[in-house]
Amino acid sequence: MTEAQYSDETFTSDGHLTEAALTAAASGSSDDWDGLDQRAAQNHVEQCSLCAAHLGRTKRVITALAAPSPMEAAPEGLWDRVAQELQISSAASSSTALSPHNTGDGIDADKDSNPTDGRFSTVQQLHPQLRPRRSAGARWLTIFAAAAAGVVVGAAAVTWWLQSGQDEQPPSADAPTVVGDAVLEPVASDDLTGQAQMVDRGDGELELRVDLSATADPADGYFEVWLRDEDANRLMSLGAATAESTTLQVPAGIDLSQYPIVDVSHEHFDGDPTHSGTTLAAGPMEGVDE
């Protein structure tokens, strides 16, 4: 059999299932049985533990492939931390270790396509001087979260850690730090859930990393991520969540205490930049105690 030739045999010469039959049995698609003997294959699997094991693994492969790729490059700086802890020279790493953006569809892919640049410049300018004041030590703000448009966030106080530190030396100048975390619960959707993390990139810029349990059906609009207050009087779009994992830049100068809720709305391609009013999932941002 030549490389590219397709075999339509059900059994190999030594009597086990061919890859074609294993694939058909694992995929559950009737098309795949074209030209193969499905009944004979099924009978064989019941009696052959080798083929049953192959079939089980093939099913696992297909199941894993159906999930979106979970692959992300290791964050920059991780090698340095490992090398430092082990007290080995960080120069020991080959150059590939130092280029962490070489795999798959990690968050960095989204950064460039973030459509929000400029779009919210007006919002940015509303709060130019409200940037968290840099004062010595961490500052905690306590915000009482009310029930937000259908989201019961409970009477629990939402604590929002505002980063600070006059020494303008975050823990490490280039180490991103998670400064807030929100669990997103379904609101107008049956099952859209997610998690959002506010990350201080270490260079003074903030970004929100959003992980959602699903993506929008492109035929039916898109998901947009917002920061807002409980009553949605203050509302700021961070941009579209085009993938299950999306990283969105948070405009400089925003006073986060004014926007304690992360909101994911369902938007349509209608040219209207305002919130559609349909919140699919939302949750309060809470401080992360490092």
Partner: protein
């Protein structure tokens, strides 16, 4: 890169080998931690622990075995430790304090490991097999559609699918033995 000799040099304690090991497997380890823990900072800490433990226990590594599978085993233990730590925090948390992080995996650990190992292996298959598998099983396109889009005979597409699945299956044989 010759992974066998990398394994041997790593087991022998060469610092250069540790750097190469990190370069080759950091995405696998980090993705595994992130998928399981669903928390970036925890995942970074866990991934750091995995490599630290790997180096400290390098003498327990059998250079005849794949490094990725060995690191996956360490990562499973570090992830389990992280979940245990979260459970302790949860128990000691004040009543009413909101639990920020899940104290147990959202999905069975085996499912998470399968997803990371398979997608890692997929990216190593190379074209056109990786793309054909993605079209068939991630995007759920019929073979005929793939054949038309890639201007490739149906039999060739099927052949790539069968061969690709067989290669990915091998990843699981190695990882869970």
């Amino acid at each position: 890169m010759d992974r066998d000799s990398l394994g041997a040099r790593f087991a022998a304690g060469e610092e250069d080998a540790m750097g190469e090991l990190f370069a080759a497997h950091s995405s696998l380890v980090f993705s595994l931690c992130l998928s399981a823990l669903r928390h970036r900072q925890d995942a970074e800490d866990a991934a750091q622990q995995v490599f630290v433990r790997a180096w400290k226990f390098r003498e327990s590594y059998d250079p005849g075995k794949p490094l990725g599978a060995w690191l996956t085993g360490i990562a499973r233990r570090v992830i389990a430790d992280t979940f245990h730590a979260r459970q302790r925090q949860l128990r000691s948390a004040e009543a009413g304090g909101a639990a920020l992080l899940h104290a147990a995996p959202d999905e069975p650990m085996d499912t998470v490991v399968d997803q990371v190992l398979i997608h890692q292996a997929l990216s190593e298959l190379g074209p056109p097999q990786d793309e054909i598998l993605r079209m068939a099983y991630t995007q759920d396109l019929p073979v005929r559609t793939i054949s038309e889009q890639l201007e490739m005979p149906v039999g060739t597409v099927k052949s790539h699918l069968h061969r690709g699945l067989a290669r990915l299956r091998k990843t699981l044989e190695v990882a869970h033995d």
